[in-house]
């Protein structure tokens, strides 16, 4: 697969001497749906800012579809659509105007921009609000407006920095469906998010930044396979017996009706259920306490005990 984005030894030191990026390397293939994860302050937004021309890099190189960003910044900007984390539009401007102006900055005529804006605003369920000023929109609508604006010039690479923050579940799901559709049509998408189930559900490849350094870059499948431990809550409709024998797994009694079970790779949930069933405990509800990716993420970024994972 040709490379959509290639970052080599990228460093960024701010004027207050804060080192935001410590020589990161990253490759994103064309057509990929890629997750760039990291805690707050890990350097994700800095990296995105440099790629899109919002920030100056300290050293290193960025290439987008083979074009060097340092030499041909404007050519690179034509290829990228950015949906930033913070709202960055004029709140007093009508939303259709925001899209038409953005298209104009990309050299699209007003007539063509109006057509494209109509398609996108309808897709984002904002068409009825096209004459409203951006300030009057709800948080979720503002996010959708920024997605529409990022797509107005039909970019080849879409960069989404926390696209669904503050968006309700229904709209989030519909945004996911739309992003999947865009990706299926060949658009390369790079996503940063704090909703790790979002990354797990959408992305095929993943990189994790921690304190300005790239600590992991692999496929989502490989990363998830590293998670050899799961914490499950097992609920019983009847009161649990006082004594429960469990030789091959650890558990903790949460209350009279539920147990927290820690499953390693050596034992399956079927075996656990059989052991419990043998003691007259018929579990009628199972739920996971944590998303697998979230558990791994916390482990890799030293936010939890590393010994839980191999």
């Amino acid at each position: 697969m040709p490379v959509a984005l290639s970052i080599q030894n990228l460093t960024k030191t701010y004027s207050n001497n804060l080192v935001a990026l410590k020589g990161i390397n990253l490759n994103v293939e064309q057509g990929d749906f890629f997750a760039l994860l990291g805690s707050n302050g890990a350097g994700k937004t800095t990296a995105i800012g440099i790629i899109c021309g919002l920030l100056n890099k300290t050293s290193g190189s960025v290439e987008v579809l083979g074009i060097n960003q340092g030499d041909q910044a404007n050519e690179v900007k034509r290829l990228i659509g950015l949906m930033p984390q913070e709202f960055n539009f004029n709140p007093f401007e009508p939303i259709e105007e925001i899209l038409i102006n953005q298209a104009g900055y990309h050299g699209i005529t007003r007539t063509d921009a109006k057509k494209q804006a109509e398609i996108l605003l309808k897709k984002m369920q904002l068409w009825d609000k096209r004459s409203n000023i951006a300030k009057s929109l709800s948080g979720g609508m503002k996010r959708r407006l920024m997605l529409a604006r990022a797509l107005i010039h039909q970019p080849q690479i879409l960069i989404l920095d926390e696209p669904t923050a503050g968006v309700d579940v229904e709209i989030r799901r519909s945004m996911w469906a739309y992003l999947k559709e865009l990706n299926a049509n060949g658009m390369t998408i790079i996503l940063t998010t704090h909703y790790l189930e979002e990354a797990e559900s959408l992305c095929r490849n993943i990189a994790i930044l921690n304190e300005g350094a790239m600590i992991e870059q692999t496929s989502m499948k490989k990363l998830l396979s590293k998670a050899n431990q799961q914490v499950l809550i097992l609920e019983n409709s009847k009161k649990l017996p006082q004594e429960i024998t469990a030789n091959n797994f650890n558990y903790e009694r949460l209350d009279d009706y539920s147990l927290q079970v820690i499953l390693g790779s050596e034992v399956s949930i079927t075996e656990v259920l059989q052991v419990l069933s043998g003691q007259g405990i018929d579990i009628n509800h199972i739920r996971s306490t944590q998303n697998r990716l979230e558990t791994l993420f916390l482990c890799l970024t030293n936010k939890t005990n590393k010994k839980d994972f191999s």
Partner: protein
Amino acid sequence: MWIAYKTIIVKEILRFSRIWVQTIFPPIITTSLYLLIFGGLMGQRIGVMQGVDYLHFIIPGIILMTVIQNSYANTVSSFFLAKFNHSIEELLVSPVPYWVILLGYISGGVARGLAVGISVLITVYLFVDFEINNFFIAFTTFLLTAILFSLAGFINAVFAQSFDDITIVPTFILMPMTYLGGMFYSVEILPQFWQDVSKFNPIYYMVDSFRLGFFGTSTSDLLTSMSVLIVMIVILAALAFYLLKKGVNIKT
């Protein structure tokens, strides 16, 4: 690039047109008051200045003052607000060359200067009969003044960190320079020392050549006035472009 430029300037014109009550209307009221008080009431006692009766004498100064204030106000407020609400990022992530961004904002300032200047000119015409002696000189001065102060407003906006910063320069620098630049008087009536000091004030040359365009009389030669204006425009344009390209207070 042409489409991007057109987009910026249309956006700027729509911006100040939407708020015409704040942008176009106040200078018309102020001008009417100046004409009534300084020209009509006090002017009769002052008589003639530089060979022209006082009511007519102050017209070029009043028009140019509104052009200076409005060109400056447009770019400083528009660019500072774009920085403040981060909508400047819409331009920074787009393939718009920096010189087009600068030209777009400056053209917006000039457009407001022209819109207000013409509105004031029409208002003046309702009060006083006058003829423009040399339209070309008057219009060229008018245009160059609008360009110069749009650039100055842009530079102020680049450095401004708060709303206070965009009012300090107009209040403490621009306003005294405008009033001391011979807007309401001829510098010839000043003592020699202050006449010499006035020659370091660029607004003096603008008002003087604008007055030359209106009445055919001036206290300095046209070539000097135009040279001062053009040299200052070149210096400020180079500085504004450098600041924008470098991303001072825009990119970190």
